[in-house]
């Protein structure tokens, strides 16, 4: 599985970079940060194509990582690759934040932080009430932990004993204007989730085996704190607030593509 997910991640980084360059869109740093997590999930670890009685669900609650999400969906075979070329164009079905339109595999339109977890709790609770199998994976940003609904939902998920619910926090340490700790201190983050009675596991969010392994077991609602690097894979984007917003110029795109193992002429 890891070999496959690593290929998906590499191709997705290439696609996402090209998409934000072409669309002059923001949030490439946020996409590069979580592409490994999404690649593991969509490579088959999350089985989103089974019948409803047993299928998994993925919610990308950090909807600004749209270029990354669409890239992974397409390169893992869940979405038509050609759709990616429409990103940022008028009439496209791919919104600048993750948008549910004709693609049922996108569970929820997001873009406003703090919606994915409570919505996912509804789906996980539905599975429990119907005695259905399958898990619900919710990818959140660390800045999203500022939202009140995150902690309301942390209470709810424990109360309902949702052992089919996995939250993955893309812990890149940077939010919109500054570091998470300089904005509203989140640490000790693991202890916070632990205090809400969640199982917590901290992993390297770019290690595919660690990501995959973290999904293998849970004793209740599980929070996976995935330590990541914003802009991962492109040295001049890594750890930078600037690349939360800035689309790469053509020259920057060339340089970035070389670092992630692609070139501009490659489809």
């Amino acid at each position: 599985m890891s070999k496959k997910s690593i290929d998906i991640a590499r191709n997705s980084r290439i696609s996402a970079l090209k998409m934000v360059n072409s669309a002059k869109a923001a949030h490439i740093g946020s996409s590069l940060s979580c592409i490994d997590i999404l690649s593991v999930l969509y490579s088959g670890v999350a089985d989103i194509r089974k019948p409803v009685e047993s299928r998994d669900f993925v919610i990308v609650s950090k909807g600004h990582a749209a270029a990354g999400t669409y890239s992974v969906l397409a390169t893992s075979g869940h979405m038509n690759l050609e759709l990616l070329d429409t990103y940022g164009t008028n009439g496209s079905e791919l919104g600048g934040h993750v948008t549910h339109s004709k693609n049922d595999l996108i569970t929820l339109s997001t873009g406003s932080l703090g919606h994915g977890l409570p919505y996912g709790i509804g789906i996980a609770l539905s599975k429990k009430r119907k005695s259905f199998d399958g898990r619900v994976f919710i990818l959140m940003s660390d800045g999203e932990c500022d939202e009140g609904t995150t902690w309301e939902s942390a209470l709810l998920a424990h109360q309902f004993k949702l052992d089919n619910l996995f939250v993955i926090i893309d812990r890149n340490g940077i939010q919109s204007l500054s570091s998470t700790e300089d904005t509203l201190q989140l640490e000790p983050l693991a202890e916070k989730w632990n205090a809400f009675n969640w199982e917590v596991e901290t992993i390297d969010g770019h290690s595919h085996p660690q990501i995959e392994n973290a999904f293998k077991s849970s004793r209740g609602p599980k929070c996976i704190i995935a330590n990541t690097t914003k802009g991962k894979g492109v040295s001049f984007m890594e750890g930078s607030v600037l690349w939360h917003y800035r689309p790469p110029s053509d020259t920057e795109l060339d340089a970035a593509l070389k670092e992630v193992g692609g070139n501009q002429n490659e489809k």
Partner: protein, 303 residues
């Protein structure tokens, strides 16, 4: 209305296991029967209005029919973005049940009033709104809600409302009603009892308006209503802000239909949020009285 809701939703949920009642830590004593009989279809989500609404949307996405029950302001204004993004835009058939329409909870202070709620929900895509005037209309509303697959908003009074719908025409069958040329008074919710008092005053003066309970509100029902009564004078009485409620809806729909209406409105435009008191006192203070309704109607019809 609260008790009629509790009784009817319990009966319906016993036959339909997809119905889930989610309460926001409210409803003491009112929903006990439901909770006791149907523990697997009852959730107290605590004081988490925003998460509760998104969670309801998630449940609805999987085939459940969640009813989210709370006091007037909480399941609307506290979680409006959740309603917009997760319920309306995602097309999930959640039913919001707000108890305490208008100034029902007068003494509790304006935090607990709901006088802009219809405007807020009406502005969203795909919602159907129900504002019954008594227990019988609550039952009709619930049946319509379950028969539909759209998101909906059920606006309830507080409790203890008189049965008045047998004395009014219903918006639902207005097309088949005999409409006279004295004009109509249209209303939503329990304010209907004041409208009926006004009607008595008018009848004593030889004017007999149709009194129409507009408990089922959507573009189609409003258009049918306008087609049925719009050729004669119309008065709208509502326990709601002048912005975005029944009166606005009728005027805007008439504009879309290219119809000129002769319309007059009584609503909460003269309500002052700094006044405190019970519902009846606050309505009197705002001028929403039988006398004013009657006088304004006579003026409307040129008597």
């Amino acid at each position: 209305m609260r008790n009629s809701f509790a009784k009817k939703i319990t009966e319906m949920a016993q036959k339909d296991s997809s119905i889930i009642l989610i309460v926001g830590d409210l409803g003491f004593g009112v929903l006990d029967d439901f909770a006791n009989k149907l523990p697997n279809q009852y959730i107290n989500a605590g004081v988490t209005e925003q998460s509760m609404m998104s969670m309801a949307a998630g449940l609805a996405s999987q085939g459940f029919r969640p009813f989210v029950y709370s006091i007037a302001n909480f399941p609307i204004f506290r979680c409006f973005e959740q309603i917009r993004n997760d319920v309306s835009y995602m097309g999930n058939p959640v039913t919001i049940v707000a108890v305490g329409a208008g100034l029902s909870y007068g003494n509790l202070g304006y935090s607990h009033h709901a006088i802009e709620d219809i405007a807020a929900i009406r502005s969203l895509t795909g919602f159907e709104i129900y504002a019954p005037c008594d227990g019988s209309e609550v039952e009709v509303s619930l049946e319509l809600i379950i028969a539909s697959s759209k998101p909906s908003y059920l606006r309830l009074g507080k409790g203890g409302e008189k049965e008045i719908s047998n004395e009014t025409l219903s918006i639902l069958n207005i097309e088949s009603a005999n409409i006279n040329n004295h004009g109509s008074i249209l209303f939503t919710g329990s304010i209907g009892s004041r409208v009926l008092e006004a009607k008595e005053l008018l009848v004593a003066k030889g004017v007999t308006p149709q009194v129409i309970s507009c408990h089922s509100l959507n573009d189609t029902s409003i258009q049918k209503l306008i087609r049925a009564v719009g050729n004669f004078p119309i008065m709208v009485v509502e326990e709601h802000s002048k912005i975005g409620g029944l009166g606005s809806w009728i005027i805007e729909s008439a504009d879309e239909m290219d119809m000129q209406l002769k319309v007059s409105r009584i609503d909460l435009r003269n309500h002052s949020i700094s006044k405190l008191g019970d519902q009846s006192f606050l309505l009197d203070e705002a001028g929403v009285t039988a006398e004013n309704i009657s006088a304004k109607f006579l003026n409307l019809v040129g008597r």
